[in-house]
Amino acid sequence: MNFDYKQIDQYIQGKLEGEALANFEAKLLTDKALAEEVALYKDVEMTLTSAYTHEEEDAALAQTFGQLGKKYFGNQTATIQEADSAKVKQDHTKVVRLKPTKERTTKQSSGLWWLRPAIGLAVAALIALLIFQPWQADFIQPFDTPYQLAMTERSGSEEELITAQKAYKSGDYAEALPIFEKHPNKVEVQLAKGNAQYYLGNIDAAINTFEQIANGGSVYTSTANWYLAGAYLEQNQTEKAKAALALIPTSSEHYEAAQKLLRKLGN
C-alpha cells in the first residue's frame, strides 16, 4: 500500500489549509487504511518526541533509580521479610560477596537497557553532527535527484501518462504513482515509479520495483541498480547497496558516482 507521507506530515504539522485540508479530512473519514496510517504517524511522532525531548531528565532519573536500587535491592538473603531496612543495609556489606559482583553490574546495566537506545542515539547524533556532518549529507544526497523521466507527447491513451509525468516532475508523486502503475511494460515509467515510491517513503516497494528492472536485462539495468543502492541505504542495508553499486559498468552515467560512493562505504 502506498501512502503519501508528505501529505500526512503536512497534516500532522498543521500545514494543510483550506481545500486541501478539507479534502484530506474527508478522505480520513472514508479511507480506513489512511486513517490508521495517520494515527500511527501521530503516535510515533508524539512518543518519540516525548522520549527525545526528555533524554537528559531520563538519564538523571536513571541515576536516581540506580542508586536507590543498590540501596534497597542490594541484599542477597533468602528471606527479606525478616530483616528491617536498617538490618538490610548492614547485611548488604556482609552478603554481597555471595553474588559475583560481575553479574551484579551487568544486570544493573540491563536494568537501564531502555535508556541505552536513548543514550546511544544522543551520542550517535552528537558524533554525526560534530564529525560526519558534511559526509553524512553526501551519503544519501546523490539520491535526492529523482530520475528524469522524459517521454514525448503522443496522442490518445498516452495523455494520462504525460499528465502523470508533469505531476512527477513537480514532485507530486502521489498523483503520478497510480498512473505509472498502469504501465508495467514501460521500463522508463517503472523507473519513475520506483523513484515516486522512494520519495513517498515506501522503500520496500521501491526496492521491489528497482530490483525487477535491474534483473530485466534492459538498457536501464545500471540506472535501476543506482537507485536500488539508494533505497537499500535508506534501510541501512549497506552490503546490498554496495552489491548494486558494484554492478554498474564503466559505460553508465552513474559509474563515477557509484565508485565514489563505494569508496565512502568502505572496501
Binding site: L48, A51, F73
Partner: protein
C-alpha cells in the same frame, strides 16, 4: 470530567521532578512488595530491581502526557503496572507463570491507567527498536525532528541544500520507519492501544 488528584499525586510529581527523597519513599514503601512478588514468580533480586526501575520509568512516561492526574492510590496503580510487565516478561522468556489473580483488589480505574501505562511503554520500545534499524542518516535527521527543531534549523545544522530536501528526506525516513513498525509481530496487539 476531571477528577481531583489523590494525595499520592506527590509521588508522580516527585518522579517528574527527580525529587530523590520522595522517590526514596517509593522505594521504602514498595521495594519489599516487588521483591516478594518477583521471587514468588520465578525471579530474583536483580529482576526485582530492574522491574522496579522499568515500571517507574513507564509511570513517568505516562505521567508526561498532558491529561494525567493520579486519582487512585499509587500503590495499586504501581502494583498493576509491575505485575503486568512481569507477566509479559515471563511470557516472552517462556518461564512459567504462577501469578495468582487478585480479583477486585484494585479499582477498575487503576487497571485502566496501568494498561495505558504498559502499552505506552511497549509502543515506545517498539518504535525505538525499529528506529535503530534506519540508516544513520535517517536516525540523525529524525532525531532532530523529535527534538522539535524546525525544518529550517535542520537544514542549516546538517548542511542540506534546501528545506525541500530536508522535507523529502524526512518523509522518506518516516515512511521507512512506519513500514518497519507495521511489519513487527507485536504491532497488531499494540495498535488498538493508541487509536482514539
Amino acid at each position: 470530567m476531571t477528577k481531583a488528584p489523590h494525595t499520592d499525586q506527590k509521588y508522580i510529581d516527585a518522579l517528574l521532578n527527580n525529587d530523590a527523597s520522595l522517590i526514596e519513599e517509593i522505594y521504602q514503601q514498595w521495594h519489599k512488595d516487588v521483591l516478594n512478588f518477583v521471587k514468588k514468580n520465578n525471579g530474583n533480586e536483580q529482576d526485582a530491581d530492574d522491574l522496579f526501575q522499568e515500571s517507574l520509568m513507564a509511570v513517568v512516561r505516562r505521567a508526561r502526557k498532558g491529561d494525567f492526574v493520579l486519582s487512585v492510590p499509587f500503590g495499586g496503580y504501581f502494583y498493576t503496572v509491575y505485575r503486568g510487565k512481569w507477566l509479559d516478561r515471563l511470557r516472552k522468556s517462556g518461564r512459567a507463570q504462577v501469578i495468582k489473580e487478585e480479583v477486585g483488589r484494585y479499582s477498575e480505574e487503576s487497571y485502566t491507567l496501568a494498561l495505558e501505562t504498559i502499552f505506552g511503554d511497549d509502543r515506545l520500545k517498539l518504535y525505538q527498536k525499529h528506529f535503530e534499524q534506519l540508516s544513520e542518516n535517517c536516525r540523525q535527521l529524525l532525531h532532530l525532528t523529535f527534538e522539535k527543531l524546525s525544518r529550517k534549523q535542520i537544514m542549516e545544522r546538517l548542511g542540506y541544500a534546501s528545506e525541500n530536501s530536508v522535507n523529502q528526506r524526512i518523509h522518506r525516513c518516516r515512511g521507512s520507519l512506519q513500514q518497519l513498525i507495521k511489519k513487527d509481530p507485536t504491532f497488531e496487539t499494540l495498535r488498538a492501544s493508541y487509536q482514539h
